[in-house]
């Protein structure tokens, strides 16, 4: 036992508690104060985070730091407080109501093993709002919202935290003499800890359901929800794991931009809007990047949008590239100057755009896609014969090469330079091989 710093951590000027006569909350707060005394903590080392409900009145009774937030979210604040300042001891006081509305946070904090201690004031109903049923209300209970008896299976709060990886999980009652010791153990566990403390709500649940201390103990037995330690395992807390990750990450370079320096020139005198329309796996967006980067290397300005279904490995893949002698203001395309149809999925996807195109615009199409409903001039993608073997894997890079030759927007060398500057060496080697077909 550490040297005591304070005799009590209760702000005595705020006593008596405003809880109902016989309510167990005061007992648990007393146990917490005794535990803090056992630990010899300075009040500035402790943050008490309270949820909403009668338990949410608790923060004012402590001389420590306190945080009182939204219903069900106490564990999220507590985790944030601890993550930023691991020197603080963070305790969450939450009811069965908070564990219902914030159940998601409870089980995820257990999974993350964030180093906070959660004390659940579990009195089987919503005391503050009139005794409505909560997630832990026993079956057949009478409450204002279950006037003929509740039919939902009660949630096992401690059990939930246990199966979701919580390191220190216990069940107790407000009447347990060793509650301060258990709280001390929970607070000293490196990782997530939770004590599901069963209590009596004398204003509502007790009187409506004839549920005294004896009945509560009987219910515990009948549900096979034994009190005591349920789980005590050591695994690295979030803080420990994250610190390790920070050490690893500190050796990596910070993010930086991809800067391209103008090396080539271009005669382009007005913006051109190009749409590449293919299918997933055809590296359409990558080809769009190559065109945009080559234009940038040639002193032009560009924007590149990508469009694909959320299931990215199937369906269409579309890249929209605007290339302009002036910085691009409007980056949308409702009528392309040039559309490239690489796969039926892409062709279908941009049908609205190709239909809007005029005679002076051009649609280039891969084999079999030459019947777009469009007034545009439609021309086949006439790749060099030697390139035929690339069609299956590298058709988009071929299309980028072909467009560069046909449209003469920037030197072909710029496209090759773009490959070298923006692509990983292995990919660049492949694509330089693809582009070589246009130079033989």
């Amino acid at each position: 036992m550490a040297e005591p710093v304070l005799d009590t951590y209760i702000a005595e000027e705020n006593l008596p508690y405003e809880f109902c006569p016989g309510c167990s909350h005061g007992k648990v707060l007393g146990a917490l104060s005794d535990s803090l005394k056992q630990q010899g903590l300075d009040p500035t080392e402790v943050v008490i985070v309270t949820d909403i409900g009668c338990v949410g009145l608790s923060d004012k009774y402590f001389v420590t730091h306190a945080f009182h937030g939204l219903h069900g979210r106490a564990i999220t604040y507590a985790s944030g407080i601890k993550m930023q300042n691991p020197d603080l001891k963070v305790v969450v006081l939450i009811g069965d109501g908070g564990c219902g509305i914030g159940g998601h946070h409870l089980l995820n904090a257990a999974r993350m093993n964030t180093d906070v201690a959660v004390l659940v004031f579990n009195n089987f109903n919503f005391g503050m709002t009139g005794g409505q049923h909560s997630v832990t209300t026993p079956m057949d209970s009478i409450t204002p919202t279950t006037s003929l008896g509740s039919t939902d299976a009660p949630m096992d709060i401690a059990g939930t935290a246990k199966v979701n990886g919580g390191g220190f999980i216990a069940r107790a009652t407000a009447f347990d003499k060793d509650l301060p010791d258990m709280i001390t153990k929970a607070m000293n566990h490196d990782g997530f800890s939770l004590i599901d403390i069963w209590e009596l709500c004398t204003a509502y649940y007790v009187v409506r359901n004839d549920f005294g201390r004896k009945e509560m103990m009987g219910y515990m037995d009948s549900m096979n929800m034994e009190s005591g330690m349920l789980q005590e395992t050591e695994r690295p807390s979030f803080q420990t794991s994250y610190k390790h990750m920070q050490t690893q990450a500190s050796e990596q370079k910070p993010m930086s931009g991809l800067v391209l320096e103008t090396k080539f020139s271009s005669d382009l005198d007005k913006p051109i809007r190009i749409v590449l329309a293919g299918a997933a796996g055809q590296k359409v967006v990558s080809a769009g990047n190559l065109l945009a980067s080559a234009a940038t290397l040639s002193g032009l300005w560009t924007s590149r949008r990508a469009d694909f279904p959320i299931t990215i490995q199937t369906g269409f893949s579309v890249a929209e590239v605007v290339i302009s002698p002036e910085p691009v203001l409007y980056s949308g395309i409702i009528k392309p100057d040039v559309a490239v149809l690489i796969a039926p999925e892409g062709k279908a996807k941009i049908a609205r755009l190709t239909k809007a195109m005029e005679e002076t615009d051009t649609v280039y199409y891969a084999e079999g896609l030459g019947d777009a409903d469009s007034a545009a001039t439609q021309l086949p993608l006439n790749f060099p014969d030697s390139a035929k073997k690339e069609l299956r894997k590298n058709i988009s890079a071929l299309a980028a090469g072909y467009l560069t030759k046909q449209l003469n927007l920037f030197p072909f060398e710029a496209l090759k330079e773009a490959v070298r500057q923006i692509q990983k060496p292995k990919i660049a080697e492949i694509n330089l091989g693809v582009l070589a077909h246009f130079e033989n």
Binding site: V49, M83, Q84, N85, G257, L329
Partner: protein, 364 residues
């Protein structure tokens, strides 16, 4: 400016870099297109600089972690889209009540609900302003392009600290997910905007610290020391202060870019990505000999009323293009005389508003 060095960058990277350069050391967020790029960058970058980045189990948890971390002294940030803003909203009220400096990026997509995920939109402009119970003021900044995304993000952190309040960056799918070439210098050189003063307008946030001062942070009505109170006078004074700390400093927060043509009777007013179509339309209209003025609004909330009214002398018509049903137009209506004609150019069909549509509206 060395115009020959150009960066290929998207808004997500620009916003993440802005946050990091502003000293952000805590990020929590939940994946959602079109804001996930920011999440990815922040979670990868923060541990490199000793910060913390995490993916919460939902948006509620994410913003909760941010608020908690801020009370321990972190400089916090989160990002989402309209659906996530719905889940943030109760905690945004908490952040206002606790006076937490909190930067939130909302990358707008077309709703309602899941909507046309994920097409660009500007439908959350009013939602950001009014998402908190009680309707307390927030600050909303809206970049029109990628360099502004970087610089306005940095500014958002300064404003959040100065006002101890949530500050939004209102952007959209187009700006966040489109890769563009931008002059490298534009990403580095600070724009010619007035500096945000460093000192807070009230008491600075004093975080929880071992051996520090004891603090109570609470979402209930409280005294300045954080003690819950039911005293009507104290509650009224506190709530008035929350309102006035921002609304009495509108002019300081106001940030607009006027491009006025002397004698023009038409002003086009826009914001966000749509302001770029406005700029393109204005260039074309002027090349045709038309007299037309333009006003880009960067600080959407609080409404920069004085700065807007300064641009209305002699204006008989205001054209307001925006990708919603006229959410900002209705605000401008309050600022104008009844003889000024307000014309909306609105699209909610997944497409950006084109310069041609704005020109058509001009020609009426």
């Amino acid at each position: 400016m060395n115009n020959n060095r150009r960066e290929m960058v998207d808004g997500a990277a620009a916003i993440a870099r802005g946050a990091l350069d502003a000293g952000c050391n805590f990020y929590a967020g939940y994946p959602i297109t079109p804001a996930s790029g920011i999440l990815t960058h922040m979670l990868r970058e923060l541990p490199k600089v000793g910060g913390i980045g995490l993916q919460g189990e939902d948006e509620i948890s994410s913003i909760g972690h941010c608020i908690g971390a801020a009370t321990s002294g972190a400089t916090v940030f989160t990002a989402s889209s309209g659906p996530g803003l719905s889940l943030y909203s109760e905690n945004i009220g908490l952040a206002i009540m606790m006076e937490i400096p909190l930067v939130i990026t909302i990358s707008q997509r077309l709703g309602p609900s899941t909507g046309a995920a994920t097409a660009s939109a500007q439908g959350d402009i009013q939602f950001m302003r009014w998402c908190n119970s009680g309707g307390y003021p927030v600050i909303v900044l809206s970049p029109t392009n990628i360099p502004e995304s970087y610089h306005l993000t940095k500014r958002a952190f300064k404003l959040a600290k100065r006002f101890r309040n949530p500050v939004f960056i209102a952007t959209d799918k187009e700006t966040v997910m489109t890769t563009e070439s931008v002059a490298e210098a534009e990403m580095i050189d600070a724009p010619d905007w007035p500096e945000v003063p460093d000192e807070p307008v009230g008491k600075p946030l004093d975080p929880y610290q071992v051996n520090g001062t004891i603090h109570h942070y609470t979402g209930s009505s409280h005294t300045e020391e954080g003690h819950i109170t039911k005293d009507p006078d104290i509650i009224a004074e506190f709530n008035e202060r929350l309102k006035n700390k921002i609304e009495s400093r509108v002019d300081e927060i106001s940030l607009v870019k006027p491009d006025l043509d002397v004698g023009a009777e038409t002003l086009i007013l826009s914001y966000g990505v749509t302001a770029r179509s406005m700029e393109a339309a204005v260039i074309q209209l002027r090349s045709l000999g038309e007299k037309v003025s333009a006003l880009t609004v960067f600080s959407l909330w609080p409404i920069p009323e004085k700065k807007i009214q300064d641009c209305l002398k002699g204006v008989k018509r205001i054209i307001i293009p925006e990708m919603n049903h006229g959410q900002y137009r209705h605000e401008i209506q309050r600022l104008t005389n009844s003889d000024v004609d307000l014309v909306g150019v609105n699209r909610v069909d997944t497409f950006l508003i084109t310069p041609e549509e704005i020109m058509e509206a001009y020609h009426g």
